[in-house]
Symmetry: C2
Subunit: 377 residues, 2 copies
């Protein structure tokens, strides 16, 4: 599964490149002072200009509107429904845990815990990845076992250590609540049985596709606003590309596109890479995939600690240093680590504005919550 | 602690009454068709007119803006801070449980569980009361042991079966996050040490004061729009007053104003009134207060099941029937129960619109979450 750097697809959209290429003939674009200054190189050397062009080859800004999803067209009713479901703890057996519990929209789209805590206070096996911009990942979970957010959404609902529910129980709950029945009908018009576990997942997927964080300072930089990054941050960006970080962390999500062994060059200690979790090996059963994980997307990384699938590292600087050693075989100097970390903080985008959904009340036929761990589901 | 019906203060504001009294001389008011029809009694008998006047003697609508709080003046920065804190799971030792976990703003301001689930999956002793309109209660908790929302907010943060944290740990967490330090400074201008456990509680209090639900159909009725209630609901309202429910459930919150024994006339069974929980007795140590609880506020009652401090009753109709028997010594007929329940559903007001707050990231000096129940706090 390891690809050489040259084989890694550089996710730079044609539209973005052509837009960049056409700016010299677009009079409106060159009329802004910032653009003008950057074109004539004021405030930075030629290296700065190269840095931007080089960055544009490897990275792409987060778009400002939700992407369309293959085989799951969005509509406003579906987004509304998806938001309700995302926040509804009745998807869990206990009626206590919602998607937002571990993918908190106020906390960078995750729970900032080492690993999540679920039904019966069970500790999950891996650090919860952020739901923000997850729609841009090639697949979901640390091992990519879910091909998309729709497939992903079904996992935690059923996992014993997470929401501990069953599809038929979820459907029973949703069908017992008239407002949900009506909302599913509007979200999936023309379907005979719109209330289903599948459609629950589809609605959550289109809502999650709205959880994107455009306008990070780095994206402003990519858009041509060079002064959006300080000198230190630009130095970090240069190092990020020169040292090879961007071989795996590239594209719109600065990662999330392919799978690599944790420890390409040197395995980190058992504390950080617990021997019991072999990553993608469990999915593919291929020896090459032992301790292989999806490269973490680095968008909003300053908000989503602790780091790595084990969640054992709380300091972003330490995470950068570990990556240098384990993936690149380089002992990064303290100033290099600091610069790269400074650059990574520029990946924090505008956080989604989410109005808390008003959830419809349960009815007499809604299954009761099961909070005791000894009770049958 | 039991008061006779005549001694119970009828919380009807002078301003509201004078407004009602002046409507005959306000030409703008009588120009609406609905008002005109109601004045000449179209669509209802004289009993209807009496019903409205009688209701206005006992009940008061939820105001449309947050009330001012004694000794805790509100300001926009304090409300913003309070909202952040209300949603911040870092107030709990585990970093998993926030105020919103049990007082879910999308679910009527509570968790719709029998009793709440807290740290280590511990089951709390009583049903979580709604945070909505709680600012209008005479005191907080089922036994009134907290004199106001400020005092209340400090309880669950420290309770071992809830958030399991300590004031000094909360302060340490908040002081470790620069954005919180800045926001406390703005919310409590001129204070030497704005970041404190006390101020945390004050900020939460002013935010909670915004969690009010005006414009319920019953409030529209009180405002003179008689057709806001159906005939069945008006019948229920009449019964609610005639049978004596409103002796305890009156005022702006339809309850929450005074304390009464559960079982004024006849104690319900141990399943519903567990012998181990003697209610207000634990607060006052007065024999008269044995099994005494604050009359539940009935605002949004259709959204806040299950019912009673034990949370053992899931059906609102059943709760009404039990109340008739235990508090009034009356076996209400099925149609009476149905009418009263229909009336109670008209107490659901406009639910608060809350934009999810973006919480600032932890720093290296923020205390780490303690999720294991065996770990020291």
């Amino acid at each position: 599964m390891i690809q050489s750097a040259s084989a890694i697809p550089h996710v730079v959209s044609a539209s973005h490149l052509s837009d960049a290429g056409s700016r010299f003939v677009n009079p409106v674009r060159i009329l802004t002072l910032a653009t003008l200054l950057s074109l004539i190189g004021i405030g930075e050397g030629v290296a700065g200009a190269d840095l931007l062009e080089q960055a544009r080859q490897q990275f792409k800004p987060i778009p400002t509107s939700a992407p369309e999803i293959k085989n799951n067209p969005s509509n406003p009713d579906k987004v509304t429904l998806g938001k309700m479901l995302f926040f509804d703890p009745r998807l869990s057996a206990s009626h206590l845990i919602s998607c937002n519990t571990c993918h908190n929209v106020g906390m960078g789209g995750d729970d900032n815990l080492e690993t999540s805590v679920g039904h019966g206070w069970a500790k999950g096996p891996r650090n919860a990845p952020t739901a923000f911009n997850a729609v841009f990942n090639v697949a979901q979970f640390w091992d990519g076992r879910a091909e998309d957010l729709k497939a992903q959404a079904k996992g935690p609902v059923q996992a014993g250590v997470e929401m501990n529910n069953k599809p038929e129980q979820v459907e029973k709950s949703l069908r017992s609540i008239p407002e949900y029945v009506a909302q599913f009908g509007k979200a999936f018009p023309g379907e005979k049985e719109p209330v289903s576990f599948d459609n629950m997942a589809k609605a959550i997927e289109v809502f999650e596709a709205t959880l994107i964080t455009p306008n990070a300072r780095f994206d402003q930089f990519l858009g041509g606003k060079r002064e959006a990054l300080t000198d230190e941050e630009q130095k970090g960006l240069a190092l990020f590309m020169e040292k090879g970080c961007s071989s795996c962390h590239n594209g719109v999500n600065m990662g999330g596109q392919d799978y690599y062994p944790f420890g390409v060059v040197e395995k980190p200690g058992a504390e950080i890479l617990p021997p019991g979790d072999q990553g993608r090996f469990a999915v593919t059963k291929t020896a090459n995939d032992s301790y292989v994980f999806r490269a973490a997307p680095l968008r909003n990384i300053a908000l989503t600690g602790p780091y790595f699938h084990s969640g054992k590292v709380w300091s972003l600087e330490q995470a950068v240093a570990i990556m240098g050693q384990s993936q690149l075989g380089q002992k990064l100097t303290d100033p290099e680590v600091k610069s790269i970390t400074a650059f990574l903080t520029t990946l924090t985008g505008d956080q989604p504005k989410v109005e808390y959904p008003i959830l419809p009340a349960s009815t007499g036929s809604t299954p009761k919550p099961v909070t005791m761990t000894s009770e049958a589901k």
